[in-house]
């Protein structure tokens, strides 16, 4: 399972790199087509850029759970490992609830977009909307090992080596 999660994490990181790199293409096409006659002015460049952008945000948000890099505010003094695990489990519960909402209502969101197409490039909208339930499911997957780790700390009273 750990191997699978690691591999999935690497896949997502790689997709994130690609999505950032690719973003620059439609935007530059848009500028160059305006000032030169070399390439035709594609009307769908802006829409394309926005769609890659949405995927970039959602991929970054997915990876952020595994990295524990979503910003939080630490107002607590230095806590014992056990108390710290309790606080972390609270925070994980919060993320868990939103993840479940993203999966449950996200499926409805995808169904709602099933027959919709984008205005310019006529892409099926579910290509985009599906990022929401995938994010929810990915959060659940990445959260699992962290929850187990903190439950262990809670049971043993000390961090695992």
């Amino acid at each position: 399972m750990h191997k699978f999660i690691d591999g999935y994490y690497r896949l997502l990181s790689w997709l994130l790199v690609v999505s950032v790199a690719i973003l620059i293409i439609p935007v530059s096409l848009q500028i160059f087509s305006r000032y030169t006659a070399l390439i035709p002015s594609y009307i769908w460049t802006e829409e394309m850029a926005r769609f890659f952008f949405i995927w970039m945000i959602m991929l970054g948000a997915m990876i952020g759970i595994r990295d524990s890099s979503h910003f939080d505010i630490d107002l607590w003094p230095e806590l014992s490992p056990r108390a710290n695990a309790v606080v972390k489990l609270f925070a994980h519960t919060g993320i868990l609830v939103l993840a479940l909402v993203f999966v449950w209502y996200g499926v409805k969101f995808v169904q709602f977009g099933w027959n919709q197409h984008s205005e310019l490039a006529e892409l099926p909208m579910w290509y985009i909307f599906i990022a929401w339930p995938i994010s929810g499911a990915t959060w659940l997957l990445f959260l699992g090992p962290q929850v187990i780790k903190n439950l262990r700390v809670l049971a043993n009273g000390e961090p695992q080596p």
């Binding site: 790199v17 945000i57 970054g60 910003f71 107002l75 909307f129």
Partner: protein, 440 residues
């Protein structure tokens, strides 16, 4: 819309804010707390459903303007891996290295140059922190001073154009981004000036070292190698003001230009560096922008219950003048900036305050600059000061260790904030000179 609502604006506001602050106290990430706080109300209010979360986050992300955020971050990351930062460091050293506390002065001046190319304070704090904190400690500066000046000088990036915050502000509140870019120049210079004065005071008191003055030839050489890098702000800001390209496009141009410089002129970027720059950009942009989506959901809820309107009625009865309103705006953003990232703060608080500002007749550009300068303080004020957190993480110290020096450095900067409130000219003069058509 709130005609058939179950909850009154007051009750809804209390529920939303209590849930939000309760959850961030329990260390739920801010982005998640913003979304979660809205869910109970969506469940009990018959006309609402959790589908709003999806519609509003989608609408927030489906924005060509916000696309500038990853581009500016990528520009900053490319500057670091591609040797542009090193060239600018050489120039700052040649310019101010001989002053008392020369290395700390370099830090401020480099932040100033960096700010003119990248629009991201966090990128500034992380890249300059890695250079300056160890170097300053080695030369005998106090660690807490080194961390504090790195964090505090990095906030210049959001005030000096181009700035991510100006683009977000212009996009959400329909103010000309070109005018905001120009309006940021003078407050940015003032902030850099008072920071240099603070460093001077510290260095005199504590006897911080100076290095030998660069010869004129060295200075010329440093300027020469830095010229291609220093062209970037002219291209970005000029291109925006003269209408050659939009804000997002100018950010894309900055990426391409920084990439070309790193690869072909300074020749320091390889594939590995590029990969790192792209991954770092995606990671940070994804997290920061995800929060924009949930902040938009939160903002939508506030608007649904017409909470901004209720606040306006309350505040109007106080009979505020221009200056009082300015202080009110600054105070609101200073407080919110302690708890929230700057972009969601603009989306939530900026839109709440906008009607009040229109009512008292303040120029939207001045309003934006008061807000942005106040939010710049929020980047280094605990508990949630991102640039301070980054600098502390680099030095491996706790926030409390540096907080005294940060407060000392912020006091003179507070003076600049007061100036932007008292004198509209500080913000409006340059835009009115260059492109008066942008101002209303």
């Amino acid at each position: 819309m709130s005609g058939g609502a179950l909850l009154t604006p007051g009750v809804a506001a209390i529920v939303l804010f209590v849930l939000f602050f309760g959850m961030i106290a329990l260390r739920v990430p801010v982005a998640f707390a913003l979304g979660l706080a809205c869910l109970p109300i969506m469940a009990i209010e018959p006309r609402l459903s959790p589908m709003i979360v999806f519609n509003e986050t989608f609408k927030a992300y489906n924005s060509f303007i916000l696309l500038a955020v990853p581009f500016f971050l990528l520009t900053a990351n490319l500057m670091n891996v591609g040797g542009i930062t090193q060239r600018l460091l050489r120039l700052s050293r040649a310019l101010v290295g001989h002053m008392p506390g020369g290395l700390a002065q370099c830090n401020v001046v480099l932040s100033f140059f960096f700010a003119g190319i990248s629009g991201s304070s966090t990128a500034d704090a992380s890249s300059l922190g890695k250079i300056f904190i160890p170097a300053q400690v080695k030369e005998g500066y106090d660690l807490s001073f080194a961390v504090a000046i790195t964090a505090v000088s990095s906030v210049l990036a959001v005030v000096i154009p181009p700035s991510i915050l100006m683009i977000v502000w212009g996009g959400t509140m329909s103010v000309s981004i070109g005018a905001l870019f120009l309006a940021g120049i003078l407050p940015g210079l003032l902030l850099a000036g008072v920071q240099m004065a603070t460093v001077h005071g510290y260095s005199k008191l504590r006897g911080y070292p100076t290095s030998v003055r660069s010869t004129f030839a060295e200075l010329l050489g440093a300027i020469f190698v830095a010229i291609p890098a220093l062209m970037t702000p002219l291209i970005i800001i000029g291109g925006k003001i003269f209408g050659w390209f939009t804000a997002t496009e100018s950010a894309a141009i900055a990426v391409i230009y920084a990439g070309l410089l790193s690869t072909f002129v300074y020749r320091e970027m390889g594939l590995k560096g590029l990969h790192k720059a792209l991954l770092d950009t995606g990671r940070f942009a994804g997290i920061a922008l995800f929060c924009v989506g949930t902040a938009s959901v939160f903002g939508w809820m506030l608007a649904y219950y017409q909470i901004p309107k209720a606040l306006l009625q309350m505040v109007t009865s106080w009979g505020m003048g221009l200056i009082t309103a300015g202080f009110f705006v600054a105070f609101a953003f200073l407080v919110v900036g302690c708890f929230l990232d700057a972009i969601p703060a603009i989306i939530i608080v900026g839109t709440i305050l906008e009607p009040i500002i229109l009512k008292v007749g303040m120029d939207p550009v001045q309003f934006a600059m008061i807000g942005i300068v106040a939010l710049a303080f929020g980047l280094v004020t605990p508990p949630y000061g991102l640039c301070l957190m980054i600098s502390c993480a680099i030095a491996k110290v706790k926030l409390t260790y540096v907080i005294k020096d940060v407060i000392i450095m912020l006091l003179p900067m507070l003076g600049v904030l007061v100036l932007t409130i008292l004198f509209p000219q500080v913000t409006i003069f340059i835009p009115s000179l260059i492109s008066p058509e942008f101002l209303k």
